[in-house]
């Protein structure tokens, strides 16, 4: 028995080491000298998984646009993809693999929790991080040299919700249902502050957790004092159940949802298209009338066969700015990107709306100001951008109808 044990043990140890060695050498030996390497840490599984593929595709599209013109200063760009599982610890492990082993010079795409987790490590290694979807208000006053985002801060979303409910809907007393997660809590907090400051009153505040079997009692609690509006700050899964509960019990009033939901097929299928009529939601909106947005919309549809969803335009711009900064720098290093970010994204400069225009202008020696699919993309000292939000309402077929657009900076 003990001979068998020793043998089995040795087999186990040997095979595991073998797997590790093969894996490591395989990835290291693929180092091609001419490529410029960028890492992507995207939520492909976990709670934000419905959006992950869009975010990844947007980044890939930007890289393809650049590579089609010969890459950056003649070198092709290669993307190394890791799944963050919408989990901070996994995101950190992904960064610790991408930076030393895959030798990426920049990181694209993580959600807020992961950004916070890898910020210090990336900065120490001079690897800039940019994301189109890291809206948490935690990042309002951090970063700026090695950390950027093309997603507007959740605190602005709070202002928008407050203004919308007070002015557009004319309601002074509202209830709040919040999911016990960082992103949704930050949206709720922003709303509370803004709403109360502008004279509104929150009559009931209910907290829910993900993974509950039923949400009936929580929804009932929120509608206890018959508020005319209930703001729901929760992810797609929980929001869909809450909307169904609301319909079932016929509470009346209006539901206003945060930016985690949209009229994407997935959400509409979750709730049931006939159950959505009259529900409001928020969309981080690029101004849909601009040309860069329309160009991107068409390209995205072509590239993926889907309509673009939440965050796609912002992600595209995030990658575009990285690539243009690289082109302007003429050198493949994280430091060079960091030094050139504001040169390509902020005024002054020739206004360009696409990667192609930007690259052409740079090659002619001009300074550029990228204003992309998601908006002007001008970074402040903390690497933030102002962003616009739009409030939509679902019609009887589950399609979103624009109610009001709040351009960047229109509320203070």
């Amino acid at each position: 028995m003990s001979k068998k044990r020793t043998f089995l043990t040795k087999m186990l140890v040997v095979s595991l080491s073998f797997m590790l060695a093969v894996g490591v050498s395989a990835s290291v030996s693929q180092a091609a000298e001419e490529e410029v390497r960028i890492g992507a840490i995207v939520a492909l599984s976990g709670p934000l998984s419905p959006y992950g593929p869009d975010w990844l595709n947007a980044g890939e599209l930007a890289i393809e646009d650049m590579n089609r013109m010969g890459g950056v200063f003649g070198r092709k760009v290669k993307l190394f993809v890791e799944d963050s599982e919408t989990d901070t610890e996994e995101g950190i492990k992904a960064a610790k693999k991408l930076i030393p082993i895959n030798k990426v010079i920049a990181i694209y795409g993580p959600t807020s929790g992961v950004v916070v987790g890898i910020m210090d490590y990336a900065e120490k290694n001079k690897v800039p991080v940019i994301s189109g979807v890291s809206g948490s208000s935690r990042l309002d006053k951090t970063g700026g040299v090695y950390q950027y985002r093309t997603a507007p801060s959740d605190s602005y979303e709070g202002l928008v919700n407050g203004a919308f409910i007070l002015e557009e809907l004319g309601v002074r007393e509202a209830a709040l249902i919040t999911q016990n997660d960082e992103g949704t809590l930050s949206v709720a907090r922003g709303f509370k502050e803004a709403y109360e400051k502008q004279g509104g009153r929150i009559v009931e505040e209910v907290v829910v957790n993900a993974g509950q079997a039923t949400y009936m009692s929580s929804v009932d609690l929120a509608f206890k004092s018959n508020p005319k509006v209930v703001l729901v700050a929760a992810d797609m899964d929980v929001t869909s159940v809450i909307i169904r509960e609301w319909r079932r019990a016929d509470y009346g009033g209006k539901l206003v949802c945060g930016s985690d939901v949209s009229d994407s097929k997935q959400f509409v299928d979750l709730v049931g298209e006939r159950n959505l009529e009259g529900v409001y939601y928020t969309f981080i909106a690029s101004d849909p009338d601009t040309i860069p947005f329309q160009i991107f919309q068409a390209k995205f549809r072509n590239f993926t066969g889907r309509e673009l969803g939440y965050g796609a335009a912002n992600c595209y711009d995030a990658m575009a700015v990285f690539l243009l900064a690289l082109e302007a720098a003429g050198e493949a290093s994280g430091e060079a990107i960091a030094e050139n970010m504001r040169k390509v994204a902020n005024p002054p400069g020739v206004v360009v709306g696409t990667i192609e225009e930007g690259k052409a202008a740079l090659m002619l020696g001009k300074e550029i100001n990228y204003e992309g699919a998601s908006g002007p993309v001008d970074f402040d000292e903390y690497g933030n951008v102002a962003g616009g939000y739009a409030k939509y309402v679902f019609d009887a077929e589950g399609k979103g109808v624009l109610v009001k657009y709040y351009p960047a900076g229109s509320l203070s």
Binding site: S49, A213, R247, R248, Q266
Partner: protein
């Protein structure tokens, strides 16, 4: 958060509070019905095979996803889809038993428990691989809630959940008291050595128990799909609360479980009226702790 009851409340306020409590009790009964079905199989396995099956929640998820497969993807009629889904869960449960657990039952209990952790992780991966990482819904129509004056009661589909729960209790009771295998199960459950000497066929009993395990868990999964959504991690979410019900009911006491399931469900749903709502699931755990400290063998143990 609702105000605590106090002496200064007016008659109207008291009425409203009573109405709320009734409503929330009804919600608790719905939650309890689902919990009951979810916990039955877990308890039976623990009694018969002697280990705490951490992968039990995944059987519930398998039930839910099978329903999604049959009803949404294959487009079958609701009742037929449900029956098929339950059959799939039952077979899956039996398969899991034969492949993973039966060969190792002779090992130490803790080893088996940890294997069940591994099985749980494995099954979770399979479900995520086959069903995708995203959330799904069965897309059932929504029925309006019946009202009594201004008091909201319950909608038809939730009523159906309660009915299913009650009917299951009756069926299980009949099974335990009237059928040969049911009596054999009770015998093994309370005194194993004695039952064995009386010639109970453990092998066919095991097969039956695991099939039943799959049936009840699968049904619980379907009901979860009726009241909420499906996600790959749904199994893990249920496991925690199920363990609290099982402990409260006295691990292995079927009738205790039935009562415990409703106690836990009602406490959670009425509790949100009085405690910060963020702690709703934690109430279930607080119940366990208090229960065990007061009576370490379980409230209803035999």
């Amino acid at each position: 958060m609702m105000a605590y009851p106090s002496l200064e409340m007016t008659g109207n306020e008291v009425t409203i509070m009573v109405a709320s409590i009734i409503q929330h009790v009804l919600y608790g009964v719905v939650t309890g019905s689902i919990l009951l079905l979810g916990t039955l199989g877990f308890t039976m396995v623990e009694r018969l095979d002697g280990f705490v099956n951490i992968s039990h929640g995944q059987l519930i998820a398998i039930g839910a996803y099978s329903m999604w497969l049959c009803y949404n993807i294959l487009g079958l009629n609701f009742v037929i889809a449900a029956i098929l889904a339950i059959a799939i869960s039952a077979l899956a449960a039996l398969l899991i038993y034969k492949v993973f657990f039966k060969p190792i039952l002779r090992f130490a209990v803790v080893t088996v428990i940890i294997t069940s952790c591994g099985v749980g992780i494995f099954l979770n991966g399979v479900i995520e691989y086959l069903g995708g990482p995203d959330v799904h819904s069965l897309g059932l129509p929504i029925y309006r809630v019946a009202k009594l004056g201004s008091v909201r009661l319950i909608s038809k589909d939730f009523m159906a959940v309660i009915v299913v729960g009650v009917v299951s209790i009756i069926i299980i009771h009949l099974f335990l008291q009237r059928t040969k295998l049911g009596k054999a199960f009770r015998a093994v459950s309370s005194n194993r050595p004695l039952a064995l000497t009386k010639g109970v066929n453990l092998d066919s009993l095991s097969t039956l128990v695991w099939l039943l395990n799959g049936v009840t868990a699968g049904l619980a999964g379907i009901l979860l799909g009726v009241v909420g959504n499906l996600s790959p991690d749904m199994g893990w979410h249920q496991t925690m609360v199920i363990m609290s019900v099982a402990v409260l009911g006295g691990l292995g006491n079927i009738y205790g479980i039935m009562i415990a399931a409703f106690i836990v469900g009602i406490t959670m749903d009425v509790g949100v009226l009085f405690f910060p709502s963020g702690y709703r699931p934690a109430l279930a755990f607080a119940i366990i702790i208090i229960g065990l400290l007061l009576k370490p063998e379980g409230i209803f143990s035999e």
